[in-house]
Symmetry: C2
């Protein structure tokens, strides 16, 4: 690939352009917003010069509702030999592209599974897609050369290609991304009118469950508006489970022992199914979920404490797989949980103890 | 306080006993399970010798369903001058204690907001409660001396006392702990039968939302069985919101533009209320939520990479407030997000760049 056109210089478009430009591809940038395109160009993402003759690959990086029009426009003005989009839903845009009479052989719907809390070209980076899944949704009509250009782009971005059917993709992201977002928001919404004292009791559990409830509503309205059906279907199933759960809790209040036992069984079922579902989420690097051992170290809030821990762990030759800082709610001290391979946990604990750290017994 | 009796040598009881013993208090340990009490004693949590004459404070650390019987037994055999429990629900046990005709002046219900994924005495530590809220539920009848003994225990454990009404406590934990647990399980349960390809697309959002879905069902059945009413009430409110959300999503599928606009408004309402609720969760050390700046650093998976980052941050004199490792799903590389005070973010980014790190633009 020698030349490309990126339409839409937001977070995703600018990141794609930066990755391509970094590999020497001549990238043309287009955006309705002249300010944004100028910023992206200034960051080194490409040129504002208009396209002359068809480029190798056009990348449409606009909100889902505008994808089909942008694809049709690229084809109409013969701006590129191949055209992909990078929107977060795939079924609707594909059907709209077909309805507009576009050539289905040179268009391919794709979705890089990457994002950030911040948006716009200034938040972009060539490494945004590093190690992330990048879904490609070719059909029987898709030209092999077009698929290969997309695979080349995915490789340039350091992402991992995953081939899926467009509608299967939309059901999958409804399940693993859109549903968790809405349920996180629904749990957080319960805190809106809560007593101050209740809010003080928030621990790490609710913090984790509601982290993504801080997301930008405007972006999520765009995404959910493009995928309402699959999300509604999954939420309806969650609503059924929730109703069963409420009934089980009410049964636990019963004077009748058999009813109470039934309630407990219902609650246990929800919790066990949750265990099973959680266990399916892949661990780091897409392997089967690794069961790490946790070594919890007591730290003060002095600068450099974490540095010292990691330096001491490094000296012990131990690779830290994950880190979690427990947020104590009112004191200048807390625990750092270091997740490591079970075999090296005793080594790490001993090494840190020797260097004066207080380790919580495991 | 010179003498204490801890009844129940699980995670919480043994941790309390270790904290007291560490301050020179003579702690007697009791448990139905002789194996467990022997382990706790071997860890230095106290003695298995029977209590002779009343101790200063008895701490009942048994599952909610057994609290009232244990309190009544302590009072009957005059084992302690004051008796508190440390169970995770407070209203039911208090009413049962009253129903058993116990002396309400020397009993106080409390709840340290601390826990772990692991249970039993081997998981215990004197520092388990460090910086955590510890709820006390005195009534008009509670003897001041009993309240002061409890406050002394909370101080010994390094926890932060919070006084609440017993039923208000149960509603609060239903909101900030029990409801998030069940909804995390319900989201995770949807993955149980999901396609393998869909599961591969799991990102950090669903990982965070479902982290606590890995919790032990048996422990949660105990907790929920003791607090079914308040949890059911909140889940019913979530179910109402969820029904509204499903209706809003269905409206987004409508051919009618007004209906679609109504759907979008409904979704926006859920997301904004989620924003508001999330913003109420206190930040580290119980302050108003700090808005940290994130500095994202690209790392390889070599041992010692984190150590080097933290050492370099330490040399720059920057205090890291929180750390998050982004789990790339299929590659041997990823980002470490370092959360710092906004004022020092540029300092940190510059210092790390100078030392050869790749920083994602913010």
């Amino acid at each position: 690939m020698n030349t490309a056109l990126v339409i839409g210089t937001g977070l995703i478009g600018t990141s794609v352009a930066l990755a391509l430009a970094g590999r020497g591809v001549r990238v043309h940038l287009e955006d309705q917003d002249t300010e944004r395109v100028r910023t992206a160009a200034a960051l080194g993402a490409g040129t504002e010069d208009p396209v002359e003759g068809p480029v190798d690959l056009a990348v449409v990086a606009v909100p889902p509702a505008y994808i089909s029009a942008a694809v049709a426009d690229v084809q109409r003005r013969k701006a590129a030999r191949a055209c992909i989009d990078v929107g977060s839903v795939k079924g609707g845009p594909r059907r709209e592209v077909e309805a507009l009479g576009c050539d289905p052989t040179t268009y391919l719907g794709t979705h890089p599974m990457a994002g950030r809390e911040r948006s716009g070209p200034l938040a972009a980076g060539a490494d945004l897609f590093e190690g992330r899944p990048w879904v490609l949704t070719p059909t029987a009509e898709t030209d092999t050369e077009v698929l290969n250009l997309a695979l080349e782009l995915v490789a340039v971005c350091g992402a991992v290609p995953v081939v899926m059917d467009a509608d299967a993709h939309d059901r999958a992201v409804a399940l693993v991304s859109h549903t968790p977002q809405l349920l996180s928001s629904l749990v957080a919404a319960r805190l809106e009118a809560a007593d101050e004292t209740a809010v003080r009791l928030c621990g790490q559990g609710i913090r984790d469950v509601t982290r993504i409830a801080a997301s930008d509503p405007a972006m999520w309205i765009d995404i959910l508006s493009a995928n309402p059906g699959p999300v509604a279907d999954i939420l309806a199933a969650v609503a059924d489970d929730l109703e069963t759960t409420v009934r089980a809790l009410r049964a636990l209040q019963s004077a009748d022992e058999t009813e109470r036992a039934g309630g407990a069984a219902g609650i246990e079922d929800v919790l066990r199914r949750g265990n099973n579902g959680r266990a399916r989420i892949p661990g780091k690097h897409g392997q089967t979920p690794a069961v790490y051992e946790t070594v919890a170290v007591l730290i003060s809030d002095r600068p450099g404490e974490l540095a010292r821990i990691f330096a001491d762990a490094g000296r012990a030759g131990v690779n830290i797989e994950d880190v979690r800082i427990e947020h104590a709610t009112a004191q200048q001290a807390g625990h750092v949980q270091l997740m490591v391979e079970p075999s090296v946990a005793p080594v790490l604990a001993a090494a840190l103890r020797e260097r004066g750290w207080t380790i919580r017994q495991q």
